[in-house]
């Protein structure tokens, strides 16, 4: 029996393309976020509220990842923000080459903030670098306070946690302090925002942080 030694990272090809994406973003001075959550946590709603608040102040662009349809890109396009839709046709996460291909349809010159909305999934996207500055994980209170312990990889790899739908706290058995505590056990350096896209609570704080990050990237 002959043994051929390889010793390589399995996702080296994805990491290589993510590195190329990152260089391109840096060259254009674009700050990039990779938005990850389970389906229905409010990724697109947070994007809409963010665009409403920052749209006039920061030049934004959006890449939407979905298993099927371009409904999300249509929602974002209503705000006159350049939006490119990636339809994965069953694929459960975005990979760096899909983002690279989407960039063919997006003029990066002048863009200050690019938000990539990943496919709704708390598991699969976590290991695939897209070239972003930060992963942002969104957990809504209706999902319960144990999500960080059940899906630790993504909470560990993210820099920011947005706890969304806080206006529904009174109706659901979710203790926001337990949720925060669980998230910090998995990732003690996580930056946490509490938001409601319905009442607008916390959106100002989130956008304030975002603005600071964008100006640092320029």
């Amino acid at each position: 029996m002959s043994v051929i030694t390889i010793e390589r990272k399995i996702l080296e090809k994805n990491d290589e393309v993510a590195g190329q994406n990152r260089s391109l973003f840096l060259e254009h001075g674009v700050f990039v976020l990779n938005l990850i959550s389970s389906p229905g946590s409010g990724k697109t709603s947070i994007l809409e509220r963010t665009i409403e608040l920052l749209g006039g102040k920061i030049r934004l662009a959006v890449i939407e990842g979905d298993v099927q349809t371009d409904l999300d890109a249509q929602r974002i396009a209503r705000y006159n923000v350049p939006a490119v839709q990636i339809v994965t046709r069953g694929g459960c996460h975005l990979e760096a080459n899909l983002v690279r291909d989407a960039l063919q349809n997006l003029e990066l010159a002048g863009v200050q903030l690019l938000i990539i909305e990943n496919v709704g999934n708390l598991v699969c996207p976590s290991g695939f670098d897209l070239g972003e500055n930060h992963k942002v994980v969104i957990a809504s209170v209706t999902e319960g306070d144990d999500k960080p312990l059940k899906y630790p990889e993504i909470f560990h790899r993210a820099s920011v946690l947005i706890i969304n739908k806080i206006d529904l706290l009174q109706y659901v058995p979710c203790d926001i302090n337990v949720l925060r505590g669980n998230a910090l056990r998995v990732n003690p350096s996580l930056k946490i925002f509490e938001t409601s896209c319905t009442t607008g609570a916390g959106i100002q704080e989130w956008c304030g942080w975002l603005k600071g990050q964008v100006s640092r990237q320029q």
Binding site: M1, S2, V3, I4, T5, I6, E7, R8, K9, I10, L11, E12, K13, N14, G91, C92, H93, E95, V123, C124, P125, S126, G127, F128, L149, P152, E153, I154, H156, L184, R185, V186, N187, P188, S189
Partner: protein, 120 residues
């Protein structure tokens, strides 16, 4: 089911490393999977068997070496095993830890069924 994508990448790397002048069947492909890599070994083996089926890797076994999560605690200066998904030192409760192992996602080696005797 991102294991399908990881299996596809594994097969591509393995195929690229097969010797062009030796058509011996592949006995096994060995990968290393850290506990924190977010990959389910059973799923990966299943996906590998499907993707390998159409190639020179057909019939090969995917051997998964699973690596536990360990860390260096900066506060109590101990090497500790982490409880799954909790990034706090189990000995002293400190959050000042650096991960030593558990994030691996690597392809290690391929074994050929060529009766040539063990070699590397």
């Amino acid at each position: 089911m991102h294991e399908m994508s990881i299996a596809r990448n594994t097969c591509e790397i393995a195929l690229a490393h097969l010797p062009a002048d030796d058509a011996s069947p592949v006995k096994s492909v060995k990968v290393r999977i850290g506990e924190l890599a977010g990959v389910v070994p059973e799923s990966l083996r299943f996906c590998f068997s499907i993707i390998a089926g159409d190639s020179r890797l057909a019939g090969a076994t995917l051997i998964t070496e699973e690596i536990p999560a360990t860390a260096d605690c900066k506060t109590c200066n101990k090497q500790v095993s982490l409880d799954f998904g909790v990034f706090i030192c189990p000995a002293c409760g400190s959050t000042e830890i650096s991960i030593l192992s558990g994030t691996e996602l690597q392809i290690i080696e391929i074994e050929l069924n060529d009766d040539a005797g063990a070699s590397t």
